[in-house]
Structures are given as structure tokens and as C-alpha cells.
């Protein structure tokens, strides 16, 4: 296939948290609010003169200093972010919108504050409480927290307009972005898709790491390009997989998978396309922040939600996506040292195999996989297993027809 016009630009934008579009927006007087988790509604960070920027630590090398602070057996994502913060990688931020969802990430935010990793006078770090269930009172709880611990702080520190009108405007723009990214992602349902899993991962990530207003025109252009893009006559991949599990902002993981012959047709990470790019439907009757809180709580696939209905939702979502996107198998992954996914992965991957009937590969991985030989071997073996299953299935079908 011919290369996408903006792919290299997008890749460059992902090479640094403070990318060109972020700098451009800040030069125009906008404020960058960093965040790391789906429990923090992205759309609320895009109100008025603010824009959200997903905190990443691309090209992470040594994380020795953060390991001194947080030990060597805690989440590598949290440590990589802290290391980047200590190195000065988040000095561009005007605030961090934190959630107290997992202890490692919460401590990462706290270290950014205690170690004074950002010297801007108005810089703030918020800590909002996140419930473990989705009852009505939990929705109220999140809405209250978002008002008091986020919107009020943004207003007080940065003078941001946090009125309902400003929030509605942010939701409209957010929904437009969601429609574009979802439409691009839907091409992966085709038998011979005009987009690769890697390209989609780049597009999805870039939509989180840049100011919406600046990235949206480029994404729209890319959508039009894909509509008329001609795929190679014979698909390049040997198997189609859905990938499910914890936070992944490392393009190398998708690259490694595709090098092993697997096309990632659906990605259900902590946040990205599922969840993350569903439109937010608002009504005029209920408090707007409450509606937004509910949307994020209902769509969240976080294993921290411990109630039975959410546990079932997570398994059903994996099954549904794999079916909708024509996957041959599911890869269940977790960030090494993440307690939530560590417990979720063995049980869920067992159930997906035994009860939902999916061939499942269960792995844990580093924040940055680089060029892991161990993972490459496991991916290759899984692809071969899926191929063998397909050959046997086809042979059986031919026997029946014969």
C-alpha cells in the first residue's frame, strides 16, 4: 500500500510529549493539562482555553532515578513518567489532572509535586477520587469530584471558563474527533483493510497527544485518503488479532506483532479507540458534568471496577470486538507490575478461552517492549497456532462440502 500522507508527521508528533502542535497551541496562549488515565474525562480538559495531553514517555531508556524513588517492582509506566518528569520532560505542562485509581500512578503524580518537576507558578496537580462501582451515588461522587477538584482548580489557577456552554462546546469538538477516528478504525473490519493496525495505533495515539483543534483537520484529511486507498491484492498478514488489556502507548508493541504476521484489527487498551472514541450523548435535563461522568464510567473497561456487571462487561466487550472485527484470536496483555491487570489477566484469558471459545495468548510486557525477542517468539508461535487452526477448519469445511 502507498504510505499515508501524514504518517511520518504523526510519528514525529509521538516522539516527544511536548510535540510541535502542543508548542504551537501554547504559543497561542492555550494551557496544556496532562493526564494518564481513562478515569479522568479527557473532554473536561479541553474546555475553553485548555487542551488535554496524554502523558507518555516515548523513547524511555534508563529509569534509575525513578526506581530509587519507587523501587524496581512497581509499574514501569508510572516510573517512566516520573523519570521523564525528573528529566524536565513535563516542564511544558500547566497542570496535571490526576486520579487516585491505582497506587503507582497516584504516587507518580505526588512525586512530580514533591520533587518540584515543574516550576511554573500556576502549575497544579489535582487528585480526584475514583469509585470502584457504577451506582448512582458513585456517578454523583465523580461529578462532585470533577467540579471541586478539577474544574474549580482550572478556573482558579488558569482563569478557565468552566460554564456548561464551554463544556458543551468541548463535547461537540470531542464528538467530531471520535467520529473521525471511529470511521478510520472501522476500515479494519474489512477482509483486506486499507489501513494497518500500526497505522491506526499511530492515528489513535496522536488524537490523544495533540490539541484537538490542531489535529482534527489532519485526521479528517487522512480519513478521506483511506477511503480511496487501494490495499495490496493479497493481504500481508497471516492472522487477525484483537488485543485487550492495560495501557499501551508503545508503537513498538504493534510493530512487533505485525512483524510476526498479525494484523491488529481491534485494540481495547485502558483507553484509545475502545474505550475513548465513543461519542458523548448529552441531554438538556441533567447536570452536564454528571452526564459526562456517567459516560466515562459506563464505557470504562478498567479492572478496578470490581462489581460483577463490570467484570462481565469487560469479557463481553473483548468477545464482541473480536467478533465485530473478524479476529482469529485474542491477545490479553498487561503492563508488568500492574496489580489490577495482573489479577484480571489470568482469570479473564482463561474464561475467554474456555467459555467464549477464543484462542487466547496471555502476556505481560514492559512499558517499552523495544525489540523483545521473547515477545516476538510468543507472537510468532501464536500466529502459527491461529494459522494451523484456520487450515484445519478449512479442511473440515471442505470435507463436509465434499
Amino acid at each position: 500500500m502507498q504510505d499515508l500522507k501524514h504518517l511520518i508527521k504523526f510519528e514525529n508528533l509521538l516522539d516527544d510529549a511536548a510535540n510541535d502542535l502542543v508548542k504551537e497551541a501554547q504559543a497561542e496562549g492555550q494551557y496544556a493539562i496532562g493526564y494518564t488515565c481513562y478515569h479522568m474525562p479527557e473532554v473536561l480538559l479541553n474546555v475553553d482555553n485548555c487542551f488535554s495531553t496524554r502523558m507518555r514517555a516515548p523513547r524511555t531508556g534508563s529509569i534509575d532515578i525513578s526506581t530509587y524513588y519507587m523501587s524496581n517492582y512497581t509499574c514501569e509506566f508510572a516510573r517512566a513518567l516520573l523519570e521523564r518528569g525528573i528529566e524536565g520532560g513535563y516542564e511544558y505542562l500547566d497542570g496535571v489532572a490526576g486520579v487516585d485509581a491505582c497506587s503507582a500512578m497516584n504516587r507518580c503524580y505526588e512525586h512530580l509535586e514533591v520533587l518540584e518537576c515543574n516550576k511554573k507558578p500556576h502549575f497544579f496537580v489535582t487528585h480526584t477520587d475514583v469509585p470502584y462501582k457504577v451506582e448512582d451515588y458513585n456517578v454523583d461522587q465523580v461529578a462532585t469530584q470533577m467540579r471541586l477538584r478539577l474544574l474549580d482548580v482550572m478556573h482558579e489557577k488558569l482563569g478557565i471558563d468552566v460554564s456548561d456552554e464551554a463544556i458543551r462546546k468541548a463535547v461537540e469538538e470531542h464528538n467530531e474527533l471520535c467520529r473521525v477516528v471511529t470511521e478510520i478504525g472501522n476500515f479494519r473490519k474489512l477482509e483486506n483493510p486499507p489501513i494497518t493496525g500500526y497505522e491506526f495505533h499511530v492515528i489513535s495515539l496522536v488524537s490523544y497527544c495533540c490539541p484537538t483543534a490542531k489535529i482534527l483537520p489532519l485526521l479528517k484529511e487522512t480519513l478521506e485518503e483511506i477511503k480511496t486507498r487501494k490495499p495490496d491484492p493479497k493481504p500481508w498478514f497471516r492472522a487477525r488479532v484483537a488485543i485487550v488489556g492495560s495501557e499501551v502507548d508503545d508503537l513498538d508493541l504493534t510493530r512487533l506483532l505485525e512483524e510476526a504476521g498479525a494484523m491488529v484489527v481491534a485494540d481495547r487498551y485502558c483507553y484509545g479507540s475502545f474505550p475513548g472514541r465513543e461519542e458523548i450523548r448529552l441531554n438538556d435535563d441533567e447536570d452536564i458534568v454528571k452526564q459526562i461522568a456517567r459516560h466515562y464510567m459506563m464505557t470504562s473497561e478498567c479492572p478496578r471496577y470490581m462489581a460483577e456487571e463490570k467484570i462481565k462487561q469487560r469479557r463481553d466487550t473483548a468477545d464482541r470486538l473480536a467478533k465485530e472485527y473478524g479476529a482469529d484470536g485474542i491477545i490479553f496483555e498487561q503492563m508488568k507490575y500492574c496489580d489490577f491487570w495482573a489479577f484480571e489477566r489470568p482469570l479473564a484469558s482463561h474464561i475467554l478461552t474456555e467459555e467464549y471459545g477464543w484462542p487466547t495468548l496471555s502476556i505481560d510486557r514492559s512499558y517499552n517492549v523495544h525489540n523483545s525477542g521473547q515477545l516476538r517468539t510468543r507472537f510468532q508461535a501464536f500466529v502459527e497456532a491461529l494459522e494451523i487452526k484456520r487450515i484445519r477448519r478449512n479442511a473440515q469445511e471442505q470435507e463436509v462440502v465434499g
Binding site: 487528585h127 467484570i311 496489580d339 495482573a342
Partner: protein, 591 residues
């Protein structure tokens, strides 16, 4: 009404004798195979070696006696032995003999030993058959046979009033355990199968506090995994390893905390009794605990489950409403599943008791902060945690325990007694996830190095008196209490609760150093280790980092833990051991 209502022990069992016979047949088969596979020549050789060891030990002890001066002999007879390391023998599960504490204290100790046996026999006699059957179904039940060793090791080296106080405290805990074991086996489908009793039982996640059950005096709340997993591991550190192995074989990474891992492993190997009207799962205290409940609810699909999950940022009163609604939801869930009704009078009566118990607790802290600390050591720490979490004012008998201990403690303070007579040299505080019970550690530190562990992090919890009149305020206080449960009070809601809090406590307790337990699988505490180091250096506070992995001694053995402690005492404190026989000994397999 007596606590626990005696009627509960008399409820009819529905034992499936055919299934029991099948089980016994299987066990007989296993025993037969063991007998067949055993190399009896080896057994005979080992017995011969033991006999030689015994002879050598007796000769050694006789020689020691012979070489003593008359004053030393007198001291031995009156005050007991001083070299406790010789009680341990390499590769043995029990100590070689009981400790000689001097005539009077050995008498006291023997009396308490007898009293404990009496209580255990009387309690199990309330329904002996299911309890005995349970021992053939669950291997963890066997570990409780060594509970006296647990008592002995936690009172090692104690004399006088300190010995009496520790016995009082541990007696109360053992009574609770014994009663709950009888109830568990009676109600378990596999064993007693008493459906009438099962309907009255509300199961709790083991780290969930029991105070909510004070409003349901006709029901029985049992921490589900406490007996088969948590307490078991404290009595026998090796007992949970099969659980951990099972869940790791299933796919759980080995970097997770062994507490929820063991709970999940117990589910996988079917070590949990099947019983109860409903189950209260909880998000407390940490990320690992949250996730373990999905394994339990999958195993027992017929057990209705409520997830009691309080806000993490517990000092933020704006989310109190959600906490109170969660409590109300839990109460309604229990009512719906048991048919019982919440009783405010019973709740307030129990909480008044709990408030009184908290006052006694504060008095202990006040005395331990003085130059003459009295009630310190593992039995006290265990009692404090048990009383705060599991008893919670529900059992009226516990007040008398508090009163007796308080009287002894005040008398001891008046006399300026030493908790470990003649051995107290340093004051220390324990921070982070403690390993006292697995390693008998604070007791060993006192006997070997003369270190007073004055208090530990997990004891310093919520001490505000709970509301006992206004119903809405009472629910708020109950939420505040739950939010500040053991561990959660420090590890949730911001680093200030655990890091800054330590510096405040160091000042209040006037310590020489901090025994900083480094639980190698606790990610929550691990994420602040650098801040501890930085801020301790700034304040000139000494930190003794001691690694451990709770109930998995394969990661860090007790001997390794003691080595770290010894190094610190020699190099940093420039100290000399009080009892050098305890510096280095083998107890990897000892209860």
C-alpha cells in the same frame, strides 16, 4: 444473651456420611501410599540421629549447669534461662523444649498453657464431629494443632506482669479463632452442612472490619479467608505456599502480594469452606485485595456478593455521601439476603463498648510513650489489630480482658517494670507492612538486641469515639472508621498519610530508629521508598530496612531478615547483643 449465642452451636448438622466415608477412604489410600513409599531405614536413621542430638543437648545443658556459680544457679532457678537460641534445633518444627522462666513464671506460663488447652477443648466440644471431619477435608485445619507453639514463641523471654498480660491477650484471640473454626466446619457444605447455621452467616473479605455486624446481633459475621489463609500463615508460615504455587501456576505473576495471591490460590485449590447467606467483598485495603474478590465470586457463584468500596481520598468530606450510601446499601443487602433487620440499639451498645476499648488502647499508647513502656510485643500488636478489625466491640467478654490487662499494666508502670526484664536498651517504631508474626520478629529483637518495638504503623488507626446517638452521624463515623482500617489508613489517600505521619510518630514515641519493613511485593509502600530515604536523611532519623515477603519465606527467609537486623545493630547502632545465642540459628521449618 451470651456471646456467641449457644443455640448456634446446637443447630442441627446434616452431615453426608456417605461423602465422609468416601473422603476417609481417599485419605486412607494416601496414608497407605505414604507408608508404602517411606524408606523406613531412613526413618530409623533419622530417629537415631535425633536421639544422639537429644543426648548431646542434655549433656551440654548439664555441663552448663555444672559450670555455673551458686549465684548463677539461683538466678536461673528464680528468673529463668537467658540463652534462648538453644531452644531451636535445625530442621525441627517445634522448639526442643519449653522455656524455663524461673519457678514463678514457669508456673504462670504452665497455668496459662493449661487454661488455653481447656478453652480449646471446651470450645471444640460444642460440636466436635464437624471440626474433626474438617481436619480431614482441609489441610489448613491441621496447622491449627500447632497454635500452642505460636503462643509460646510470641511470649518467649517474657516474665512477670508482661507474661500475664500477653497471655490474657492471646487467650482472647484464640477463643475467637476456636469458636469461628467450629462454626465454619459446622456450616460448611462439605462437612457439618448445617443449613440453619449457614443462613445466619455473613461472610466478609478478611480485611474488612466487622463493626457493621453489630447492627445484626442475630447474625454471625465471619472473615472468610482469615482462618484458612491469613491467620493460618501467622501460625505456620509454610502453610500458604501451596496456595501461592497454585495461583502462580494458573498464571498470576509472582510479583503480586502473597495475601491476595494466597486467597486466590485457596480458591483454586478449593480450600475455602462453602457456606453462608451472602458475602461482603471489599476494596480494602489495596489494589491487590480489590482484584482477589473476582476469584472468590467466580468460585462461589451461588453466594450473593456485595462490594463494599469506600472512597480512597478519605479526608475529602465532599465524598462522604457516597461512603454513607455504600454502607446503607450493604445493610440493605444483608437484610435482603438473611431476612434480619438492622438493630440500632444493638449497634450503639456495641459501639459504646468499642469506644471504651479505644480509651483503654490510648492509655497503652500513653504509657508506651514514656521511658517505661509496658505492653509491647507481638501479642499486643496482634490483639490490637484483631480488636480493631475483627472484634470491633461485638464481643462483650473482651472488655474484661481490657480491664485485667489495664490493671496489670498500671501496676507494672508504677513499679517501672521492664517488658523484657533486664533486656531493654533501644526504642524503635515499626513502619510499613509488618512481619512480626511470621518471623516472631519484635519478640526476637527484644530478646536478642534489647530493642523495644513500641508501636507499629498498623496499630495507629482511627481513635475518634464513634457516634452512638445520632443515626446519620453514626453512619458517617462508621464510614470514617472503615476508610481508616488497618493498612488503608496509611497507604490510601496520599503519601502524607504514610511518610509525613512517620516523622510525627517518631517524635511522639521518642525512638532511636525505625524498623522499616520492606515487604517486597507491596507496591503501595514501595512507591514511597525514595521519599522515606530522602526525608529520613534530612531529619537525621535512622531507618533499618528489613526485607520480607509475608507468608512466602522462600523469597526472604526469617534468617535473612535477622541478618539484616544484626548488620544494622552492629554497624549503625554499634550495639552488642543481649543474647548472642539468638544471633544466628535455623528456624526455616519451625512453627
Amino acid at each position: 444473651m451470651k456471646y456467641i449465642d449457644p443455640k448456634n452451636f446446637r443447630l442441627k448438622d446434616h452431615i453426608d456420611w456417605k461423602a465422609q466415608a468416601e473422603n476417609m477412604k481417599e485419605i486412607a489410600g494416601i496414608v497407605g501410599e505414604l507408608v508404602k513409599e517411606t524408606d523406613w531405614k531412613d526413618v530409623a536413621a533419622a530417629a537415631g540421629k535425633d536421639a544422639k542430638g537429644l543426648k548431646k543437648r542434655i549433656t551440654h545443658e548439664v555441663n552448663l549447669l555444672k559450670n555455673m556459680s551458686p549465684e548463677e544457679v539461683k538466678d536461673l532457678v528464680l528468673n529463668g534461662e537467658k540463652q534462648l537460641g538453644k531452644l531451636y534445633a535445625n530442621g525441627k518444627m517445634a522448639t526442643v523444649r519449653r522455656e524455663w522462666r524461673g519457678i514463678k513464671d514457669t508456673g504462670v506460663d504452665f497455668y496459662e498453657w493449661t487454661r488455653m488447652w481447656g478453652m480449646l477443648l471446651a470450645t471444640f466440644s460444642k460440636d466436635l464431629v464437624p471440626a474433626l471431619m474438617g481436619a480431614t477435608h482441609y489441610r489448613w485445619m491441621i496447622s491449627y494443632f500447632c497454635c500452642h507453639s505460636f503462643m509460646d514463641k510470641n511470649t518467649m523471654g517474657l516474665r512477670g506482669r508482661a507474661l500475664k498480660m500477653h497471655h490474657e491477650l492471646i487467650y482472647a484471640i484464640f477463643r475467637y479463632v476456636a469458636e469461628n473454626l467450629v462454626l465454619l466446619m459446622k456450616a460448611d457444605e462439605k462437612v457439618g452442612n448445617s443449613t440453619d447455621l449457614s443462613k445466619k452467616i455473613v461472610l466478609f473479605d478478611e480485611m474488612t472490619m466487622s463493626q457493621i455486624m453489630a447492627g445484626f446481633p442475630d447474625l454471625i459475621g465471619i472473615p472468610y479467608q482469615l482462618m484458612p489463609v491469613f491467620l493460618l500463615s501467622e501460625i505456620d508460615q509454610l502453610a500458604c505456599m501451596p496456595y501461592i504455587d497454585a495461583i502462580e501456576s494458573y498464571g498470576l505473576p509472582s510479583d503480586t502480594c502473597p495475601v491476595p495471591s494466597s486467597e486466590c490460590g485457596a480458591v483454586v485449590v478449593d480450600a475455602l469452606p462453602h457456606m453462608g447467606a451472602c458475602f461482603i467483598s471489599s476494596s480494602m485495603p489495596c489494589d491487590g485485595s480489590v482484584m482477589a474478590s473476582s476469584y472468590t465470586s467466580r468460585r462461589f457463584k451461588d453466594l450473593p456478593t456485595y462490594h463494599l468500596a469506600f472512597p480512597v481520598r478519605y479526608e475529602d468530606e465532599s465524598i462522604m455521601d457516597a461512603a454513607v450510601k455504600d454502607i446503607k446499601g450493604c445493610i440493605k443487602f444483608i437484610e435482603d439476603n438473611t431476612g434480619a433487620k438492622w438493630n440500632w440499639d444493638a449497634y450503639f451498645a456495641a459501639m459504646k463498648r468499642f469506644n471504651e476499648e479505644t480509651k483503654y488502647e490510648l492509655q497503652k499508647w500513653e504509657i508506651n510513650q514514656t521511658p517505661y513502656p509496658q505492653l509491647i510485643g507481638p501479642c499486643y500488636e496482634l490483639f490490637r489489630k484483631w480488636n480493631y478489625e475483627m472484634d470491633g466491640g461485638l464481643d462483650p467478654r473482651i472488655i474484661s480482658t481490657f480491664k485485667k490487662v489495664d490493671k496489670l499494666m498500671l501496676k507494672a508502670y508504677e513499679n517501672k517494670d521492664e517488658a523484657w526484664r533486664g533486656k531493654m536498651k533501644y526504642r524503635a517504631i515499626v513502619w510499613s507492612i509488618p512481619a512480626h508474626y511470621y518471623a516472631n520478629f519484635s519478640n526476637w529483637a527484644a530478646n536478642c538486641w534489647g530493642v523495644d518495638i513500641l508501636v507499629e504503623m498498623e496499630s495507629l488507626n482511627f481513635t475518634k469515639p464513634l457516634e452512638t446517638e445520632d443515626k446519620e452521624e453514626a453512619l458517617k463515623d462508621l464510614s470514617r472508621l472503615y476508610e481508616r482500617m488497618v493498612m488503608r489508613r496509611h497507604t490510601n489517600g496520599g503519601y502524607d498519610h504514610v511518610v509525613t505521619e512517620l516523622w510525627r510518630q517518631c517524635e511522639a514515641w521518642n525512638v532511636d530508629f525505625v524498623l522499616m519493613y520492606q515487604h517486597v511485593s507491596c507496591k503501595n509502600m514501595a512507591t514511597v521508598q525514595g521519599l522515606f530515604e530522602d526525608q529520613a536523611r534530612e531529619r537525621g532519623i535512622k531507618l533499618l530496612w528489613c526485607s520480607h515477603d509475608l507468608m512466602d519465606p522462600r523469597t526472604v527467609s526469617r534468617k535473612d531478615m535477622r541478618s539484616e537486623f544484626n548488620e544494622f545493630m552492629r554497624t549503625v547502632m554499634k550495639a552488642e547483643p543481649v543474647d548472642p545465642s539468638l544471633l544466628d540459628f535455623e528456624d526455616d521449618t519451625t512453627w
